[in-house]
């Protein structure tokens, strides 16, 4: 493969640099980088079938704009992306044949983007006259693994938010018997796709996952714990309004509803757009897009606490709490009055008895 890369104008140096970046994302020790380079240089390209269902193609976009200088190219060369509706040259019958061939051979990787609708037998998303459910189960047969990219393919994502008209679910809810790796995010960070694939190619195994099927190398740490604004959080310096002095000084976005304290992702360390920046760095709070149940579980985005279910939008937890305490105080006052009345009555009766 190295020869092929050199023909493309990618130097050995660039290649090793790439291996180093991926090694860092995977958190392998320095000796591991050599192993990654070795594996990638000698590997047979596994074929990849990329399926898009209820999605916005945002993860595809993210993947195509993979920022590590040579990552996109290398991944496209390391892998053989045999089917990807958005970027493939083939169309119609030709395209479907390419997919069938890839699936027939087996041992392929399936990358799924977008959620799968299950209501009305999956009628809400059809490609070539067949439902997403059918297409997914067909592609899953004999696959080495399925990588669910983005929050939709992982947990249902946006389409699964209330009222969820299509009954959207993630891959794990449908596919059994094939390992499914979730790479949530809205969109997924391409580095994490690359790193997952490289891990698979290098170690012939899938990375260690957390309870939501997310690789620990990418989703093992809280956004909050690696955030560059964390010092301001601990100091007690918070942005109170967009564009205020604290905002200009880069203070913590906690009071603006930042979900960093409850969100696991490597956004702060790998960042986006050639490592330029990431949402919180750019001044917007984290909205927790890598967590299960996003979007519903993370709204309201610009407040710390959700509303109390069953109460109107305006009634936050504090208002209800103060109401509860006030009701207790009112009860006490009523009782004080009642007790006084009882006393007076008792006294009056006593006086009557005595007279």
């Amino acid at each position: 493969m190295l020869a092929a890369l050199e023909r493309k104008g990618i130097s050995r140096r660039d290649f090793l640099k790439f291996c180093g970046v991926i090694g860092a994302v995977l958190a392998v020790p320095a000796e591991g980088i050599g192993r990654i380079a070795e594996a990638l240089a000698s590997v047979r390209r596994p074929s990849v079938v990329w399926l898009e269902f209820q999605d916005c193609a945002g993860c595809s976009e993210s993947f195509l704009r993979a920022s590590r200088p040579t990552a996109a190219e290398i991944v496209l060369d390391v892998l053989s992306v045999d089917y990807h509706e958005t970027i493939m040259a083939a169309a119609g019958r030709q395209a479907e044949e390419a997919k069938e061939a890839a699936i027939k051979t087996g041992g392929h990787l399936v990358i799924v983007e977008g959620s799968i609708p299950t209501k009305e037998n999956g009628l809400y998303c059809c490609v070539g006259g067949r439902t997403a459910m059918e297409l997914l189960s067909e592609a899953a047969k004999g696959a080495a693994a399925i990588i669910a990219v983005g929050s939709c393919a992982s947990f249902g994502g946006l389409a699964a938010a209330k009222p969820d008209p299509t009954g959207a679910v993630g891959v794990r809810d449908l596919v059994k018997g094939v390992p499914v790796i979730n790479l949530p995010g809205c969109p997924v960070n391409a580095v994490n796709i690359t790193a997952t694939v490289v891990h698979y190619l290098t170690y012939a195994s899938l990375p260690k996952l957390d309870e939501y099927g997310r690789p620990l190398f990418a989703y093992g740490k809280r956004v909050h714990d690696n955030c560059e604004r964390r010092a301001h959080f601990d100091a007690g310096q918070f942005v109170e309004a967009w564009g205020d002095e604290g905002h200009r000084k880069g203070w913590c976005l906690y009071k603006m509803g930042c979900k960093g304290p409850e969100c696991y992702s490597n956004c702060p360390t790998v960042r986006w757009n050639e490592g330029t920046n990431w949402p919180v760095g750019a001044g917007h709070g984290c909205i927790g897009c890598t967590q299960p149940g996003f979007w519903d579980a993370m709204t309201p985005f610009y407040r710390r606490l959700p509303n109390v279910p069953g109460f109107s939008v305006e009634s936050g937890a504090d208002k209800i709490g103060i109401g509860l305490a006030a009701a207790a105080a009112a009860g006490v006052v009523t009782h004080v009055v009642g007790t006084a009345v009882r006393r007076n009555k008792a006294k009056a009766e006593e006086n009557k008895d005595n007279s």
Partner: protein, 236 residues
């Protein structure tokens, strides 16, 4: 004739005041953590406001947790006023006392039932509050475990996170704090009321442990218990 009785043993009193102090600190720091109403000025490196709030919150949580465990142990080891039975209105005498106490609070009877330990209504409210404290602690430690991907805290309490979700846990944690605030108001009032009406040193007993009791002779005591069982107060 009056007699001084040791009602609240040292561990019970200690638990009470440790609970008061730790719950107060937890409420104040917890409120700040949920809504940081103070902002530090100057360089971030020169202050540690949120840091201290969280540190105090966590330490107080550990203190309260350990205190609760010791109190639970004392339910089985302590004197008759410290035992579980004082908090649960079961058994003829306790049940009848319970309803008479409720009637008294609701102005339906005029005579305040005489109880030396917890009156059964108060006892039940403490049982509920203890359960709420344990629930609050469970939620709190689940949120505490969020910072860890594995290890003790994660495995002991982390299972609550996928079960209920962070937002719901924090909302409940927040609302329960207000339930404790409401309890505090009622609790303070009830104890002052008891102090005024019973005149047996209810408030000071929370420091010294002793209450004064009319010395009951054996006969009266028996009569009292029998009467209590049928829901009446024996004539003096």
């Amino acid at each position: 004739m009056q007699k001084r009785v040791l009602v609240w043993e040292a561990p019970v009193r200690l638990f009470h005041w440790v609970a008061v102090i730790s719950m107060f600190s937890l409420a104040v720091t917890g409120y700040y953590i949920g809504f940081p109403f103070l902002t530090a000025s100057g360089e971030a490196s020169s202050s540690y406001l949120m840091g201290w709030m969280r540190a105090v919150h966590f330490v107080a949580a550990f203190v309260l947790g350990i205190a609760c465990l010791i109190r639970l142990y004392w339910f089985f080891t302590g004197n008759e006023y410290a035992r579980f039975r004082d908090w649960i209105p079961v058994g003829g005498v306790r049940r009848s006392l319970f309803w008479r106490q409720v009637k008294y609070y609701l102005f339906l009877t005029r005579k305040r039932p005489e109880v030396l330990g917890h009156n059964p209504v108060a006892g039940l409210s403490y049982l509920i509050v203890l359960l709420l404290i344990l629930g609050q602690g469970l939620i709190g430690f689940a949120l505490y475990a969020e910072a860890y991907q594995d290890g003790f805290w994660r495995s002991a309490f982390g299972w609550l996170l996928p079960l209920f979700g962070n937002q719901n846990l924090r909302l409940t944690h927040h609302l329960l704090m207000w339930v404790f605030a409401a309890f505090l108001i009622v609790h303070l009032y009830m104890s002052v009321l008891a102090e005024i009406e019973e005149r047996n040193g209810t408030l000071t007993s929370m420091f010294g442990g002793y209450k004064t009791e009319e010395q009951p002779d054996a006969y009266r005591d028996l009569a009292y218990r029998e009467a209590a069982a049928v829901g009446e107060k024996p004539e003096d």
